[in-house]
């Protein structure tokens, strides 16, 4: 049995099954979808065991050089609390784990978003408009006005009327231009993916058919 060819055929088969969805929902898609959900869920369970639980927890709790590191008992307990949801009587223990996860997530997100999404972007917008070319001055001006008016659009406690309303209108207009540009630009990346799949079907899978039928080597 040629495992490589079997692999290519398996890949091609599930590819066709999923593409059939473009026509409409059908038994082939249902099969592939259920298979995908099941297999990928299984994959992620194994992945989490092999890549997180063993190296980041078990091997730290019982290091290779021997001994026992008690501090790693704590996340183990939190993980058990989380799983305690299965038993209704002790299900509320899971809130302790949730509190830890959500608290840590909130703290971490707060500083990292503030740093990279707010301050770094503000810094990038503080620059001199002066330039020899009129076009470059205009472009810089559009950029600054775009950022400022875009921010005004997000004002919640002011009605969008008067000056605020006009500025917010400029803001949403520039946002729309930005969304259009970003959409148009991304089409290429999306088509690349389809080209990749077509190359797999045309260049890897299709040539195996004559080989299976006994033509060529």
């Amino acid at each position: 049995m040629n495992w490589e060819i079997l692999g290519i055929w398996l890949g091609a088969l599930v590819t066709f099954c999923l593409y059939s969805f473009l026509y409409r929902d059908n038994p082939f898609y249902k099969f592939a979808e259920h298979l995908f959900v099941g297999m990928s869920a299984g994959y992620w369970v194994i992945y989490n065991i092999e890549n997180v639980l063993i190296p980041n927890w078990w091997q730290k709790m019982f290091p290779a050089e021997g001994g026992f590191s008690w501090i790693w008992v704590i996340p183990g307990i939190f993980a058990l609390f989380m799983i305690a949801r299965i038993v209704p009587k002790i299900a509320s223990f899971s809130r302790l784990s949730l509190g830890m996860i959500i608290g840590a997530g909130a703290g971490l997100n707060m500083v990292s978003f503030f740093q990279t999404n707010a301050l770094a972007q503000v810094k990038g917008t503080i620059f001199s408009l002066a330039s020899d070319s009129v076009w470059s001055v205009f472009s810089s001006l559009v950029l600054v006005i775009g950022v400022v008016s875009g921010l005004v659009y997000f004002f919640f406690s002011k009605a969008h009327t008067g000056v605020v309303g006009k500025t917010a209108n400029v803001g949403i207009t520039i946002l729309m231009v930005a969304f259009g540009a970003s959409f148009g630009y991304t089409i290429m990346a999306r088509l690349s993916l389809l080209i990749g799949r077509c190359q797999f079907l045309l260049e890897d899978w299709l040539p195996t058919i004559p080989r299976l039928l006994g033509f060529g080597g």
Binding site: L18, F21, R24, D25, Y29, K30, A32, E33, H34, F36, V37, G38, S40, A41, Y43, W44, M82, R85, S94, L98, I101, I102, G105, A106, L108, N109, M110, V111, F113, F114, Q115, A118, L119, A120, V122, K123, T125, I126, F127, S128, L129, A130, V144, V148, L151, V152, F154, F155, F156, S157, K158, A159, H160, L175, M176, F179, G180, S182, F183, T186
Partner: protein, 401 residues
Amino acid sequence: MNNLSTFLIFLLLFAAGTAPADNADQSESVVTEAAEEFRVQEAVDLEASDTEEDAGGSVSLTWHMEIAGIIPDSLGIMRSDPSGGEELIATLPEGFVMYNDESVDNGIEYSYWIVSYLGGTVEACSDRAVAVPSAQWIYKGRIGMLIILFLMAAVIIYYIESGKKGKELFIREIAGLEAVDDAVGRATEMGKPVLYVPGIADMDDIQTIASMVILGRVARKTAEYGSSLLVPTSRSVVMSVAQEVVKEGYIQAGRPDAYNKENIQYLTDDQFGYAAGVDGIMVREKPAAIFLLGTFYAESLILAETGRSVGAIQIAGTAMPSQIPFFVAACDYTLIGEELFAASAYLSREPKLLGSLKGQDAAKLFFIILIIVGVVSATIGDYWSPLKSVAEFLRKLVTVN
């Protein structure tokens, strides 16, 4: 003509007079260079300093190697402490110019020097450098950020408190959120379910948390109207939270009996496996209203287009700038960026939450002023230098290292 000959004679004499001295100079320098060539390179400019912005227990060493001389095989880092003990703490291959000694205790003065090895013996030895390791209490490059963050937090909390005291607060209309009730109502009329997709991020993501808060409101509405609510999730923890939140929504609506745990199910952590599963649910259950709220990546358009094809009203929202265009193109209503976070305040109309929105606005106003002042001073600063330092100061304020 006379002048010229005098000049030539002078020149000749001068040359004759200086020539021997020149030769002597040259020979001297040849001798020193030859001596240099046989010497092994020594580390120079050794500097030892406490490693900055750490929890202590570390000293940073930097040095250069002499340019001339024989390249040593390896370098040895030597250390002595006040007790007088000398030890070799590391041997580095040739070419290194820095080392961090992580094996020191805080508050003790250590002395370092570097020896050059050639053929296993010490051939050269550097001058000594001294450092006292200590722990720091603050990252210097983050002080500006700390101040701004503290101010913003104070403003937001101030407005939350004033909201609690019952101060009347205005909030502008957000179309996507106005439509929530209508969408659920429509699903009820048509006898079809409501589908709520909370994105693919885990519970540590603030967008997921914001999504869970909105889910609570949607659950209450579906419970009141008596339509069924489906929540497929891609994370186990999100599934757990969604179950809690929906159950609570049904309890608040006075219909705990209608809560069906099976409707909130985990599919898979896999991004596209999840997309395939949700697509399947969309085409088979044919929901009349679809909510796509949370963190989305490339699957955003796969979900939104399939939802569109089954004829559902779609309300989407995310703070991922790269995915917003696809939601704008394929959904009926889109919550853009910050609007997603404003949703919980908007839907609940709780004064303290509305207060936090006002705090956010104040923070944005601060940034707008910062940008405008910065741009104006930077621009004028190109022609009138005092203002340049203002722009520099503002840039430094928002720089985080």
